[in-house]
């Protein structure tokens, strides 16, 4: 037994001379929600393919519940629900026949849960898949993924192209499932605002590398935007690490990546900082600061 639902170590994926995933290591505890972000082409999709046993890594391994994702794929897929970026099925098939088809692929299948969820979403079983909106296709995909009561739910950019209402209903259903069972969730997304209140941990990929992997609470507690009313700013960078500093009106703005109330107050007391306003930042603002601070 292991407490990790996912344990990826030293994972490298290469397509010809292109390195898509570069020595990535990350773990996700059972019952935790992990959000992976990064720009298109950062390597998220390749990592998800490894997670689902669809891609043999060049080196390293992806372990799910202590079993190798590549060699134990068939058995593991019985425990993993997947909602892909582009929910896809033959357009002429009805939702009911898609569900029937999927039910044969799995040992356990809760058809009544599929029907209940589709009812909540307002998607009739008789509707042709091709006639559904993008949001409805995702809802069908989620209802099917949850029908096996998965131990791990992999959501690959689930809210891409969805409107606000469809996003809300999708997240509500996922949160409800999280509350009912101790599902582990791995989600890749561009929608940081959507996941920031319910992800336990976030990772950020850039050029195949995992450049950040941290608890959301810890990340949010160490980042602050400080607005100084005057320039120059007498900030002691030995105490507060600044990621981005730029002029702002008559003053300056600094993004601090190791903020600590007491250190700042001490600094305020000993140096001539002048008026300064400290603001907490949203996950999205933090990621922009991290990405911007590097380039």
């Amino acid at each position: 037994m292991t407490d990790n639902a996912i344990r990826i170590s030293d994972l490298t994926v290469r397509y010809g001379r292109t390195i898509a995933v570069d020595r990535v290591a990350l773990s996700v505890d059972r019952g935790a929600v992990y959000a992976l972000v990064g720009r298109n082409g950062a390597g998220k999709s390749s990592l998800v393919r490894c997670l689902l046993g669809q891609q043999k890594p060049e080196s390293g391994e992806t372990m799910l519940f202590g079993e190798d994702a590549w060699s134990r794929r068939a058995a593991l897929m019985q425990r993993i629900g997947v909602v892909t970026e582009e929910a896809d099925a033959p357009p002429e098939m009805s939702v009911a026949s898609i569900a029937r088809f999927c039910s044969r692929l799995y040992d356990k299948w809760d058809q009544s849960s599929v029907e209940a969820r589709l009812k909540t979403f307002g998607v009739p079983l008789a509707s042709r898949f091709g006639s559904l909106s993008k949001g409805q296709k995702k809802q069908v995909s989620l209802a099917l993924a949850l029908a096996i009561a998965p131990d791990l739910l992999v959501l690959d950019d689930p809210t891409l192209g969805l409107d606000v209402v469809a996003r809300k209903s999708l997240f509500e259903e996922v949160i409800g499932d999280l509350a009912d069972r101790d599902t582990t969730i791995f989600i890749t997304t561009h929608d940081l605002a959507g996941v920031e209140t319910f992800a336990d941990r976030v990772g950020m990929m850039e050029n195949g590398r995992l450049v950040l992997d941290e608890e959301v609470d810890a990340l949010k507690s160490r980042f602050r935007r400080i607005r100084f009313a005057a320039q120059p700013v007498a900030i002691d960078t030995a105490v507060l690490r600044t990621t981005v500093v730029r002029s702002w009106g008559g003053g300056a703005e600094a993004i601090v990546s190791n903020y600590d109330d007491r250190a700042f107050e001490r600094m305020r007391g000993t140096s001539d900082i002048g008026a300064a306003e400290v603001e907490a930042m949203s996950l999205e603002e933090i990621f922009i600061a991290i990405a911007g601070g590097k380039s």
Binding site: E172, I175, G176, E196, A276, V278, A280
Partner: protein, 131 residues
């Protein structure tokens, strides 16, 4: 009930804890009243159910909520107030943040105090209206 603010420096579990305490302090949640289940509140606030559970657990340990097995979670018959030292600390933290905002926008102390005095009854009124 209340909203979660992602750019609030306080972690979400503490925002929930404070939100429930505030509703009780304002009389919106009476002693003995049932509070939403972890599942419902998590869906409502769109937060991780574990985060709600953590806030509820802290409130239960602090004597604010009580759990009746199989029935749900209720406001305690005599919900305990935060200790004076905790209350002072919370106020000092919030006051420091407020004071830095006031200074940053160039407000005089007397104007900042006026705003606070106006905000107090407004918050009470808004919560009463929601009940």
């Amino acid at each position: 009930m209340f909203a979660i603010n992602p750019t609030d420096p306080a972690p979400i579990w503490r925002q929930i804890e404070e939100g429930i305490r505030r509703l009780i302090a304002l009389g919106a949640l009476q002693p003995g009243a049932s509070v939403p289940s972890v599942r419902d509140l998590a869906k409502d606030l769109r937060v991780n159910p574990n985060t709600v559970a953590r806030a509820y657990q802290r409130l239960t340990e602090g004597g604010v909520l009580s759990v009746k097995r199989g029935e749900g979670t209720y406001v305690a018959d005599q919900p305990s107030q935060p200790r004076k030292s905790e209350r002072n600390e919370a106020l000092r933290d919030a006051a420091t943040r407020y004071a830095s905002t006031a200074i940053a926008v160039g407000s005089a102390l007397v104007d900042a105090v006026d705003e606070l005095e106006a905000a107090f009854p407004r918050v009470v009124r808004e919560h009463r209206r929601k009940v």
